[in-house]
């Protein structure tokens, strides 16, 4: 279970998160929507421990453990995975090598045996196939020269291989074609279960037709201003953010 209470954070002295309260029980998928610049990516970075994102107040625990004090790699070992809005290129680093290094780092941290090249490749090939990716992607350098959609699929490939307990998906649907969207959603749905939860950041209701969330939250100007069921996404799609932000301001 992810529990965020009164979380505030700043970048370069500028307050971006202004008090986030959000609880995602184990097994649930929550969607976060909100206007550009609202702080959605910031929230995902703060949860995964990016440098420069300074927490100024509040708490965040995962299964009862304070994650804010942990290094990024420790959070990864605890089962948190961030699918980047803008996946990063690693020139000269083979995708398979990267995946195997990552997977074995996690296994080591968890006291599990490392996978040898053969075991790993078997798993990787199966995952690639499931995501309808070409095996070529394993041989290429991490995200280098990948199309926007390929990068997003590669994030999901990593998620599938690393099998996190909590996935933070930051606009994984942007840049995906219709087929890819469906495949990626299937990837997420396949992971769903009592030991998996996800925070899905998106701008589009369409993704939520495939990945039906348990709850939808609206993040605006560093605060969650409204929460509801899947129907909230539909309402937003129809009316935009202006109305909701107005209501929230009146209520405050």
């Amino acid at each position: 279970m992810l529990e965020i209470k009164g979380l505030t954070a700043e970048i370069d002295g500028k307050e971006i998160l202004k008090g986030i309260d959000l609880t995602i029980p184990q097994g649930e998928v929550h969607a976060v929507m909100g206007p550009n610049g609202a702080g959605k990516s910031t929230l995902s970075y703060v949860l995964s421990g990016r440098e420069g994102y300074e927490v100024t107040g509040g708490t965040a625990t995962f299964n009862g453990v304070d994650i804010l004090a942990m290094e990024p790699e420790e959070r990864a070992a605890a089962g948190i995975f961030l699918a980047f809005q803008y996946p990063v290129e690693l020139p000269g680093v083979g995708n398979a090598n990267f995946l195997r290094t990552a997977l074995n780092s996690l296994r080591r941290a968890r006291g599990e045996a490392e996978l040898d090249a053969v075991q790993f490749l078997k798993q990787a090939r199966a995952a690639v196939k499931k995501l309808a990716m070409s095996e070529d992607m394993l041989k290429r350098n991490v995200n280098v020269g990948f199309s926007g959609g390929e990068k997003k699929r590669n994030e999901i490939l990593q998620m599938t291989m690393l099998a996190p307990k909590l996935a933070l998906l930051d606009e994984t649907d942007s840049g995906l074609d219709i087929d890819a969207l469906r495949i990626v959603a299937e990837g997420v749905n396949a992971s769903r279960g009592p030991d998996f939860s996800a925070l899905v950041i998106t701008h589009y209701q369409r993704l939520l037709d495939y990945i039906v969330p348990d709850h939808v939250h609206v993040l605006a100007d560093g605060r969650i201003i409204r929460s509801g069921g899947p129907e909230l996404a539909k309402e937003l799609e129809a009316q935009g953010y202006a109305g909701i932000i107005g209501e929230a301001a009146e209520a405050a």
Binding site: A76, L90, A102, L106, A109
Partner: protein, 495 residues
């Protein structure tokens, strides 16, 4: 702490203590008195039982050296070297003389090489390779300890194929005509200050001769070890590949950690005849000095290959992680029509290390082709310069060069410089040059760490990615070793 600062911190924590090869072997030594004069040279020549002509050659080189100025043109400056304060000959005392078989080698020496991961046993393969990897061919090793070669393995196996692989001292005794024909033919005794010094006092190194049409049946390698205090090592290596012959040769080197600087001034000459191929790889890991810049090896080296024959090919691949100061420009003289010269280099500097390295490609023949790929990684307070010359001579019709120089900076206390010299005297020649400078980006580190990699593993992965185009040119087992070495040079704890 921001990621980059943390990386710097990690890098700073790398001190001499992470240099795993810094131990000293306690042996009874035969040591020439300190100082350099004609008597020193006579002593060296005498200890090696050399013919008269070679002593004369040395003395002539010494006379030239005395008239030469020590160069101070390169970026790395260094304190004045007192050439009279160095031992020019240091050899473990032998129990009796005569040909060295492995059983006669001092067990203390065998243990030293074992500790260095270089078992001098014929069935053994070089350590540092992960077990379980695919089977590898054995590798022949020439082990040079201070001023002498203490053992050369697989000599008889190689001899069956017609290949000569032995120490240059043995070659002088056993194949004097060959040595006389080629020694100094690529790097003349008076070529430069350090080459002249080397020609006067060179002690040991390897000799390789691959006869016509022979593909050398195994990798050859020489492992250089400086052990004694206050000594210089003056390595001399000569490799000859006759028509259609080919060979892959690798050198490695380490030294104990000491507070004073020590000099390694080598000369390496390669000769490739028609259709011959020489692949020369170096993993240079001399003691780099401590984190304050105390101690370390001065590595002043002249390496040059002559592609004398048509379609001959010489490739230099180097991974330079050690030494306090490195000056080194492995070069190719492309004489034969259609000959090919290649230079692949990774130079890592950390703490207060300085490296000024690069290559010279001299295109003389028609349709000659050269490729230069140089990767420079600087961390700490170190400074690294790529210095390269591409010269197209008037007859080098349709000659081609491609040069790519990439620098990677870790932190903001270090420097990287690229100094390309290009001279074209043939209008049909084509020269391409690309250069980039980058830093390990914070987002790359975070991306890796968010996937579970430690900071150190992330740096190692990114650095190895940066060097991939060069590392893939190394023989497989050394690529693995070089990758580890890169990580160690930059981190201290990754291995």
């Amino acid at each position: 702490m921001p990621a980059v600062a943390e990386t710097l911190e990690t890098v700073r924590s790398v001190t001499g203590s992470t240099y795993k090869w810094g131990f000293e072997t306690d042996l009874e030594m035969d040591l020439a008195p300190k100082g350099l004069n004609e008597d020193t040279i006579r002593l060296i020549s005498d200890r090696k039982g050399e013919p008269e002509w070679l002593l004369a050659w040395r003395l002539k080189a010494f006379a030239m050296w005395q008239k030469m100025e020590e160069p101070h043109w390169a970026k790395p400056g260094y304190p004045v070297i007192d050439y009279q304060d160095i031992h020019y000959y240091a050899a473990p005392k032998k129990k009796g003389s005569g040909p060295k078989s492995l059983d006669e080698v001092d067990p203390e020496l065998l243990r030293t090489y074992e500790k260095l991961g270089i078992p001098l046993k014929e069935q053994a393969i070089l350590a540092g390779v992960e077990p379980g990897d695919e089977e590898r061919l054995p590798m022949a090793v020439d082990a040079v300890f201070d001023s002498v070669s203490v053992a050369t393995t697989f000599r008889s196996t190689l001899a069956k194929a017609g290949v000569i692989f032995c120490s240059i001292s043995d070659a002088v005794r056993e194949y004097p005509e060959l040595v006389r024909q080629y020694l100094g033919s690529v790097v003349p005794a008076g070529d430069n200050f350090f080459a002249a010094l080397n020609s006067a006092v060179f002690t040991d190194g390897s000799f390789v001769f691959i006869p016509k049409g022979v593909k050398c049946p195994m990798e050859l390698s020489t492992y250089f070890r400086i052990n004694a205090k206050n000594t210089g090592q003056f390595e001399r290596t000569l490799i000859i590949a006759e028509d259609g012959a080919s060979v892959s040769y690798l050198e490695g080197c380490t030294a104990p950690m000491r507070d004073e600087n020590q000099l390694h001034a080598a000369v390496v000459e390669l000769v490739a005849m028609d259709d011959a191929k020489i692949k020369y790889s170096t993993v240079q890991n001399w003691y780099p000095g401590d984190s304050e810049g105390r101690g370390g090896i001065y590595n002043f080296v002249t390496k040059r290959g002559a592609c004398r024959g048509a379609r001959s090919r010489i490739s230099w691949t180097q991974v330079e992680t050690g030494s306090a100061i490195t000056w080194k420009y492995p070069s190719c003289i492309l004489i034969g029509d259609g000959s090919v010269g290649e230079f692949y280099s990774v130079a890592v500097t950390n703490n207060h290390q300085m490296a000024d390295t690069g290559t010279k490609m001299i295109h003389i023949g028609r349709n000659t082709n050269s490729t230069i790929i140089a990767k420079t990684i600087s961390a700490g307070h170190s400074d690294s310069t790529y210095r390269g010359l591409v010269r197209m001579m008037p007859k080098a019709q349709n000659a081609r060069n491609f040069t790519q120089c990439d620098s990677l900076l870790i932190g903001d206390q270090c420097g990287a410089h690229t100094v390309p010299y290009i001279e074209s005297r043939n209008p049909s020649a084509k020269i391409e040059h690309e250069a980039t400078t980058s830093k390990i980006a914070e987002d790359q580190l975070f991306y890796c760490r968010s996937r579970g990699l430690s900071q150190e593993d992330a740096v190692g992965l990114i650095v190895n990615g940066f060097c991939k185009d060069v590392l893939k040119e190394l023989p497989m087992e050394f690529a693995v070793e070089a990758q580890k070495l890169l990580a160690i040079s930059l981190e201290g704890s990754v291995g």
